[in-house]
Symmetry: C2
Subunit: 349 residues, 2 copies
Amino acid sequence: MSTSRPTARDVAQRAGVSRSAVSMVMNGTAAGNVSAAAQERIREAARALDYRPDPLGVSLRQQRTGIIGIVTDEIASSPFAGKLISGVNSAAADRGYLSIISDIGQTAFAGPGTVREEHAIRQLIRRRVDALILATNGLRTLRVPKPLLTLPAAMANCRDAEGLLAAFIADEREGAQRATEHLTALGHRRILFIGGGDDEDAIPARLAGYHAAMTTAGLESLPPVSAGWEINDGFTAAQVVLTGTERPTAVFAANDRVATGVLLAAGGLGLRVPQDLSILGFDDQPHLAEATVPGLSTMGLPHFDMGRQAAEHVLNLLDGQESTTNGAMIHCHLTLRESTGPAPAGFNC
Amino acid sequence: MSTSRPTARDVAQRAGVSRSAVSMVMNGTAAGNVSAAAQERIREAARALDYRPDPLGVSLRQQRTGIIGIVTDEIASSPFAGKLISGVNSAAADRGYLSIISDIGQTAFAGPGTVREEHAIRQLIRRRVDALILATNGLRTLRVPKPLLTLPAAMANCRDAEGLLAAFIADEREGAQRATEHLTALGHRRILFIGGGDDEDAIPARLAGYHAAMTTAGLESLPPVSAGWEINDGFTAAQVVLTGTERPTAVFAANDRVATGVLLAAGGLGLRVPQDLSILGFDDQPHLAEATVPGLSTMGLPHFDMGRQAAEHVLNLLDGQESTTNGAMIHCHLTLRESTGPAPAGFNC
DNA sequence: ATGAAAGCGCTAACAG
DNA sequence: CTGTTAGCGCTTTCAT
């Protein structure tokens, strides 16, 4: 009695009422069912004993745990997973929910045999999570694992081909377009897109935005350089494309790491940034974009909001509110630092 | 019956036995209590119905949830939290446990008023986690919040001053010593330590290792340059210390980001790495150390193992095994890439 | 307005 | 060897 936590029975005893009365007061169902006097006594007793309903009892009774499951690829090494998860947690905490994360490793959601993710999902369902959120590190289109359709669910930073599940993704096309417009507005005419691979959906979207902005500005798109996602990829590509007189005056990199590689290469090639060359990144990667010299101008992805909105969506479903939305395209945010500036004179074609 | 999952009662009915018999078979307690024939029928029925004991019922009955709580600071932006958490999850999964993460933001564990963390811990305890792991992003010594002492717990990448809790931390001193020895073995005599602030415990430990190695090699330590933790911090510091004829031939950076800043600055100053200057980092930060040009030689911190061993420790406590250890100092791992090489000739003092 | 009783799914002690 | 029973802590009818 002294060591273990108080139960509803203890409170009831102390207040001289039945356990049901306690339950009602704790759940706000006491309206016309418990006398005001009793309510006050119950509240007082609960306070005195520091009583909190045991979530285990509640869960068993209500068949809901107040836990949201998150299934994600490579949380381990991603600089962004944390932001997305924070978004989920933030929305969850606001409504008294907790989250459980299941990390299934980097090769996840890849092949047709989505064994690992189905296992992870089943595991979470077995644990009776109330809802599930599927999140990926980069924008992806994937086949939604069947078990996911058996409970409230949403996708964050990914979507399924069939549109069965609400997807909360960044509007990468629009983001890339706005980013490119930033460069054209600075007078740049030769703007080169560098980086990325074929494994994700992000590149086509970003390229589409790039092309749209170039067309709008009456400029000719340069053939994009597919170069990978890492610093050294940007570095290597830059060695090639930044030489010669026809070199671009601005580089739009597929992400901040590639942009950093270009920045590194520019130094070695004697190009000043941004006076001789403007560099624009993508992602606003923590500890990177704001810390390079000069700091990277970059189009940030709304990881936090993707997580938060996905969580809000499933929580709404849980509250019985019919899906008010079927997903969302969330705006990207442009952060200007020092790596972009006016096009150098004498380069206007 | 068709839509909801099968219960022990369903299995018992199908096998023509009592519910308790089913329970025993599922828990391996059937030894001398259930006839072999019945056991087989039960197993068969369970398989047919795809029966899995409901964790909720088990939890309520046994007063344990099979969930480990992780309380951590700034998972959101840390490149390492994920690795540590993966370590915890890996050990947890091996024994059928799950983990719940509670992120309390970057200012955590700071002041004397540890309100936020106590709240997070209480929240997890309320949810009846079986054990708790306290993890920080960088090595820290902190006051262990009282509620933590009420259940099996361990600390990962941090420790408390009083030694009340088992702490699993990296042997940063030994790591720094070995790292410095790598440089002295290459013939470097002027080795400069750059980076870090005063807010964590890591710097004193790393400096101690540096000094030890220098002394052993019969060299004079250079006054360390306290410069911060980010790329631009390393860049700025390098601008000052890499000029002049008395410049160091090797830099040992407080982390990989600072090392990257030095690398960037070296390029601008016309210093080739590693021919003119060796640069050694700390952390082996994903997406950074292996991706710079040249790749960073770096002393990696065992984040995964810190998480994994902390989890194994609390799981042992849960299994009733008395604490076999009171924590551990885990070895760091040196990864050699291209940023370190022999000391340039003509610089031997 | 109140309390008694049933039961969520499970396990452990005990009687047959 | 087997089945019955009692409860883990809670909510929700249903009588009173």
